[in-house]
Symmetry: C2
C-alpha cells in the first residue's frame, strides 16, 4: 500500500485541489482561472469541469478540504497537550508558533492564507466551513479553564500573527516572535 500511496498519482480530484492551492499561492487570487487550474493539474478544462461543475464548486471543494485539515491538526494538537486548564490554549500557541511536534510548516500557513483570500473574494459564504471550525475552537478556548480575557488575548494575538503573515504588513523578526510567545505563555502560567 506504500506503493499505492506513493507511486500512483493522486486521483484527479486531489490533483485539481492541489493545483488550485499552488496556483493561488504563486499567482495570487486573480491568477486562479479554470484554464490555469486545469493546466496546473494536468487535466483539460473539460476534465476539470467534470469534477467541479463550476468555479464556485471548485472553491467549495478546496475550502472543505482545508476545514477538514484544520480540524484534524487542531484535534491532534490538543491531544498532544497534557490535560488540565489551558490545554486548548497551549495547543493553539504550539500551532501558531509552529512547534516541532505539531507544526504545520510554513507553507501550510501560506496555502491557508491564499486559499481563504481566493474563496473570500469569490463569495464570503465560502468561508463558512472554516468559520464553523474557528468558532468551535473559540468556544473550546473559552471553556478551557483560563480567564476570559486571557483566552481572548491568545485567540486574537495568534490571529493577528497570522494576518501579519497574510498581508505582509510588517515582518515580525525572530526576536519579536520569541518575545510574543514568551509573554503569551506566561499569561497561562503565573500562579499569580
Amino acid at each position: 500500500m506504500d506503493a499505492a500511496a506513493t507511486t500512483t498519482p493522486p486521483d484527479a480530484r486531489t490533483r485539481i485541489l492541489d493545483a488550485v492551492e499552488r496556483l493561488v499561492v504563486q499567482k495570487g487570487v486573480s491568477g486562479l482561472t479554470l484554464e490555469a487550474a486545469a493546466r496546473e493539474a494536468k487535466v483539460s478544462k473539460g476534465g476539470l469541469l467534470y469534477h467541479f461543475g463550476s468555479k464556485e464548486a471548485l472553491l467549495t471543494g478546496v475550502m472543505q478540504r482545508l476545514a477538514e485539515m484544520v480540524t484534524q491538526d487542531y484535534e491532534a494538537g490538543v491531544a498532544l497537550q497534557p490535560d488540565g486548564p489551558g490545554r486548548v490554549a497551549r495547543a493553539m500557541l504550539a500551532w501558531a508558533f509552529g512547534e516541532a511536534d505539531c507544526s504545520p510548516g510554513e507553507d501550510k500557513h501560506e496555502r491557508m492564507a491564499a486559499v481563504c483570500l481566493a474563496a473570500f473574494h469569490h463569495d464570503p459564504v465560502l468561508l463558512d466551513p472554516l468559520r464553523a471550525v474557528t468558532e468551535r475552537m473559540k468556544a473550546d478556548l473559552l471553556a478551557d479553564g483560563i480567564p476570559h480575557g486571557i483566552a481572548m488575548t491568545i485567540q486574537t494575538a495568534t490571529d493577528g500573527l497570522f494576518m501579519a503573515h497574510l498581508f505582509g504588513m510588517y515582518r515580525p523578526t525572530e526576536a519579536d516572535i520569541l518575545a510574543l510567545r514568551a509573554t503569551l505563555v506566561s499569561l497561562l502560567e503565573p500562579p499569580s
Copy 2:
C-alpha cells in the same frame, strides 16, 4: 469659506475616491469596475480615466489617501495620551477599541478593510503605503518603554481583532471584547 466648504460639491477626484470606497464596501472587491465607479461618482467613464489613467492608478490613489488618514488618526491618538511609557500602546488600544475621544467609527474600519482587500487583490504592492505606516507604528510601539513581548501582544491582538471583523470568522461578543481589553490594559499597568 464655510459655504465654499459645504455647499460646493467636492472636486471630481475626491468624489471618485469616495465612490470607490463605497462601492467596494457595498458590492465587494469584484463589484469594483471602472464603469461602476464612474457611475457611483457621477462621472463618465472617460472622465474617471482622465483623473486616474488606469485601474491601478485608481487603487493607488485610494490607498495613498487611506495611508494618510491612518497616519493622521495615529498621530492624533498618540497626542491624546499622557506622556510616559506605554503611550503608543495606549493609543493603539484606544483606537482598536473605538474609544470615544479618538474612535474612527465602525465604518472607517469597514472601509479600510474593504479597500485593503481590493488593493491586495489587484496587486499586493499597492499595500506598500499602508505597510510603511504600519511598520512605523510597530517601531514606535517597540520603543515605547514597555517590554518587548507585551508590545508584540498588543500589536498582534489588535490586528487579530481587526481580522476577525474583516473576515467575520467569529463574532466576538461585547463581553469578549471587554475582557480582552481589560487584559491588554492590565498588561500595561501592573507595577509588578
